[in-house]
Symmetry: C2
Subunit: 206 residues, 2 copies
């Protein structure tokens, strides 16, 4: 790799990281490319040196965010020190701690863009669908493990429970963002883990 | 009321209805005032004759949408022909039927704008928070009625269950919008009504 190629790649990575920061707050449409370039100290007009279009940039922002997210998610969901159910709980606790540290602002980039772009751009919708489907599959795998370990009853369909887990938590993130309060997270934890999963454990022991 | 005042009010109402239709699909930022005016056949440039600013228009769009929504919601949630739990189920079934008829597009205006605006505009956030809090209170009232009638156990906190109901359903609407499939709604109904509420009924009978 030449020094020039390396610099180009570093600048591209910086633009993508900055894109994540701005887009998670403002969304896709309200993110101005000139704001991203200014924040990085990259000359205006050189954007197309790095990306084909704003759409290309947006999709690369999503991919960059997702790569990091999946790495963290996989680490928590395969932690050998925790039982499968406790891995799910840790995932939620980590996310709540992160939300609290940001006064419940920002939310989840994938959910924010899903809400904004699903009816606006089919390329974005399909990419976002693919990402969320993969997450749902990861949650379903851990739920199945928890079922095998007797932590969650086998009478609950793991895929449906994973879908519900995802919907309810994404909804709670959005609610917390509007309320600026973690109460929706508390309700989620109590109802999902203490009531819904406890029920399953009771059913199983019958 | 003079004919002129009446025409002005009709035009204003038409602009707001059109604003709902466009804003529910595109969001606030991507909605161009000129598109709204063109769709209504109202001359460009006359916008400020009806509204103080785009923000004022957006807030009036939210209020107009909410007034209609609350009227429908109140009707379902106070239907004397249905038990309290069945009123909640009917609310969900009606919403799913509506989503299906639109191929799961659009979603909920209040949730869409919450996602987009909560960190962008404090006036919007506070108005959206107020609207959702009122909905949560309506759901909590029906949940309490269901608890009094023995349909939902008294050991569940009605306000927390209402919050969870709201989060999980708003999340399912968003998921369905990305998937273009009602599967997230099916998972919601099964887990919330068949599993979580059933658990409560079992707990109560102990």
């Amino acid at each position: 790799m030449t020094a020039k190629t390396s610099t180009k790649q570093n600048t591209r990575a910086l633009l993508l990281e900055t894109g994540i920061d701005i887009m998670i707050e403002k969304g896709y449409h309200a993110t101005g490319l000139s704001d991203v370039l200014s924040a990085c100290g990259v000359p205006k007009g050189s954007f197309y040196h790095y990306f084909e279009s704003k759409e290309d940039f947006g999709l690369q922002v999503i991919n960059t965010f997702d790569e990091k997210y999946v790495a963290q998610l996989d680490q928590v969901l395969s932690d050998p020190k925790l039982s499968p159910l406790n891995r799910l709980k840790k995932y939620i606790d980590d996310a709540i701690a992160k939300a609290e540290s940001r006064q419940c602002s920002r939310g989840c980039l994938i959910a924010n863009l899903s809400q904004e772009m699903a009816d606006q751009n089919e390329v974005f919708r399909l990419r976002l669908k693919q990402i969320i489907t993969k997450r749902r599959e990861s949650f379903a795998r851990v739920i199945k493990e928890a079922q095998e370990d007797g932590e969650i009853a086998k009478d609950l369909d793991a895929n449906e429970l994973a879908e519900f887990f995802l919907s309810a938590f994404e909804g709670a993130i959005m609610r917390a963002k509007v309320q600026k309060d973690i109460q929706p997270f508390r309700a989620f934890k109590k109802m999902f883990f203490d009531k819904l999963c406890r029920h399953s454990q009771e059913s199983r022991s019958k």
